[in-house]
Every structure is written in structure tokens, then in C-alpha cells.
Amino acid sequence: MGDSSRSAHPPNDSPAYGSSRLRAPQQPLHVLAGRLSELTAPLLAGETIGPLDHDLTRQHDGEPLGERITVSGRVLDEEGNPVAGALVEVWQANAAGRYAHRSDQHPAPLDPNFSGAGRCLTDAEGGYRFITIKPGAYPWRNHPNAWRPAHVHFSVFSPAFAQRLVTQMYFPGDPLFAQDPIFNSVPDESARQRLVARWSLELTQPEWSLGYAWDIVVAGREATPLDDDASE
């Protein structure tokens, strides 16, 4: 419990985020004392990943509207080891801030050339790379005049149960951070900044697209027993 890296995760009990109120468990979590770390399951998805599944700009006849970007980085564990062969899935709004989902009622245009989903497997160095367009901000009803900062949803699925992570990647300098209860649910400022990608000259392709670098750190695979066996 005293492990500061674990406290990087936001508490589910975050009342400023309205949707949490009837969904966040009210009882304290029970301790499994390191039992989770070693659990592994085979990942069978490799054969279903297409060679262009990482490129969200080439899934339709035409190109999507918006600012073309590359998002790339590595998936590492806490010890700095690359997490190879992890399934990384992303989904996002289009450039106008609209998801291609029937429940999204934001009156912004859909883009017939953008579905907003991509996936890839990390390489031997833990590397991943997506080509997409920068998503737009969009309004939601959490509080009066609430707007989500632009973000890309990320899911990391490695064979180790303890490493499972779903998160969101944000863009540097977004003026909407200060009023967003999801971004600010992460209590620690330096931890929040780890959700923000870095603009990268190296990933920026001349006269073609902007580049953003974002590394993802998941739990280690080795059992890391909690402080001691004390319950609660």
C-alpha cells in the first residue's frame, strides 16, 4: 500500500467524476498478497491482426479529415524490460470530436473515412506505432459546460494479468486539463503528466505528419509482495 507507483492509479471513488458515484465500490479492496503478478494467459490474437490495423487513416476509400499524426512509443514494465507481443488497442473520436458510435450524440459531423479504431502487437523492444488523426475535444454532461481534452484511448493486453492496463493518452498543452475530472482523478501531478504525450521532432515526418512519443509503463511480471502479509 505504501508503494508510490501503485498510487499512480486514480481512486475509483472520485466524486467529481459523476459516473463514478453509483459504480465505484464502497468497500475497501481486499489484498491478494502478490498472487496476481504471476498469472499469465496465452494471447491468441496475433493471427487476427492485419498489417494495416495500426493505420487509422487507411481503413476507408478516402482519407479522414484532420491533422495527421504518428503516435509511437514502447511498452515497458517497472523494471524497464520491454513488454513484447502485447496487444495494444486504441480508439478515439474523429477530428471534430465525434465517436463513430451510435450512443455518441454530440452534434459534430461523422467522418465517413474514419472509424477511429486501431491495434497492433508490440515488437521485441516493446515498440508500438499508430498513424491516425488528432482527435477533437468534445462536450459531455459531467458538469456545466464540461469538455474532455483531446485524447486517444489505449488498452494494453499482455499475457500477464497484473500488467493489464486501460488508459488515455493526452496531448501536450491542452487548455482543457484544468477542468477535466478524469485527467485530474490521478492525484499526483507528475503521474498525470505521464498521461501526456511529448511532441517529437524525430517522429514528425517533413511535409507529412506530426509525431508524438508516449511510453507506457505497466506492472512488473515478477511477484512483488506487498509490504508484508498484513491484511487491510
Binding site: 500500500m1 507507483s5 501503485r6 499512480a8 492509479h9 486514480p10 481512486p11 475509483n12 459516473s19 463514478s20 458515484r21 453509483l22 459504480r23 465505484a24 465500490p25 468497500q27 479492496l29 481486499h30 491478494l32 498472487r35 496476481l36 498469472l39 499469465t40 494467459a41 496465452p42 494471447l43 490474437a45 487476427t48 515497458l76 514494465d77 517497472e78 524497464g80 496487444l87 488497442e89 480508439w91 465517436y99 463513430a100 458510435h101 450512443s103 472509424s115 477511429g116 479504431a117 486501431g118 491495434r119 484511448h153 494479468f161 497484473a162 486501460v166 488508459t167 488515455q168 478524469i182 485527467f183 490521478v186 507528475s190 498521461l195 509503463v217 505497466v218 506492472a219 512488473g220 491484511s231
Partner: protein, 165 residues
């Protein structure tokens, strides 16, 4: 030196765009000997179904994934894991490790589903033994026609036991 973790964020309401098909709801095929259909409902603190949750199961044999429908129902077809095949803890009864994601949950919830026909193993299981009988009952599936039922209560008097991730 340990690298600091990337914080979790909610899966949000639109995860079906990105998470729908890569990992499916069948860990084993329907006709496989020993295949078990595990179904359940995810409910919020008002007792209302949660129509935008994602359930994932883990065991040595593979992972399953199912989004809840409009009534909060999910179903995953799998097999009972071989005892101790996953974590080597000799005293743990067969179980599935379960993750719950949903709009409104900033960090995934982790729980376990145990099997109702494993009375002796469940009685000896150190995780179950540490719980009250009411808590324990939230982790043991119920037999019903066609398989097992495992409801997940996010809040309330029957709140499911969740574990530190």
C-alpha cells in the same frame, strides 16, 4: 531503479469501437468437452444494470472478453481451469480471474469467480477463508440451467469482493 507506472483511466462509454473483436467471448468452443457457459449481470449501486461494462476472464487456458448488453448481461464460454495451473499456489481452489471495466470506473476492478461444485477446495482456499460468508458468496458462481451464473454488484448490500490490483 523502478519506472513509475502509467496511470489508469476509464475505458469510457465507447470502448466497443476499439475492443470489440480482438479477444472474444469464447475461450473454448461451445462443443468442447468441459465447456462451461458463464453468464451474469453487472449492476450499479441503485441496482440498475450497467450496459457499458467490459468483463475479461483470465486463466492458464486463455482469456475471454465480453461487453455487457443493454440489460447489463454478459456471457463467456470457457472451461474450469486446472487447479493451480496458473499461480502455483497449492492451496487455491480453481477460479477465474476477472477484470471489470466500465464508464465510471477509473481503474479496473479485479475479482475472482469460484466454482460452486468445488466445496472442499473452496473451503480450503486461503482467499475465500479470509472472507466472511456474505463476502465469500459474492465470489462463488451459482449453478443454473445451461451453465453458471456470476453477477457482479459494483455497490450495495451485495457488493462483490474486489481485490487490490
Amino acid at each position: 531503479m523502478r519506472l513509475p507506472l502509467t496511470p489508469s483511466q476509464t475505458v469510457g462509454p465507447f470502448f466497443r469501437i476499439g475492443l470489440s473483436t480482438t479477444i472474444g467471448s469464447h475461450v473454448v468452443g461451445e462443443g468442447t468437452p468441459g465447456a462451461i457457459r458463464i453468464s451474469g449481470q453487472v449492476l450499479d449501486g441503485a441496482g440498475e444494470p450497467v450496459p457499458d461494462a467490459l468483463i475479461e476472464t483470465w486463466q492458464a487456458e486463455g482469456a475471454g472478453r465480453c461487453a455487457t448488453d443493454e440489460e447489463g448481461h454478459f456471457a463467456i464460454v470457457t472451461s474450469k481451469p486446472a487447479r493451480n495451473a496458473i499461480d502455483g499456489a497449492a492451496t487455491d481452489a480453481p477460479h477465474l480471474d476477472v477484470s471489470v471495466f466500465a464508464r465510471g470506473l477509473l481503474t479496473r476492478l479485479v475479482t475472482r469467480m469460484y466454482f460452486p461444485d468445488e466445496h472442499a477446495a473452496n473451503d480450503a482456499d486461503p482467499v475465500l477463508r479470509a472472507l466472511s460468508s456474505a463476502e465469500r458468496s459474492t465470489l462463488v458462481a451459482v449453478s443454473e440451467s445451461g451453465g453458471l451464473r456470476f453477477d457482479i454488484h459494483l455497490q450495495g448490500a451485495r457488493e462483490t469482493v474486489f481485490f487490490d490490483r
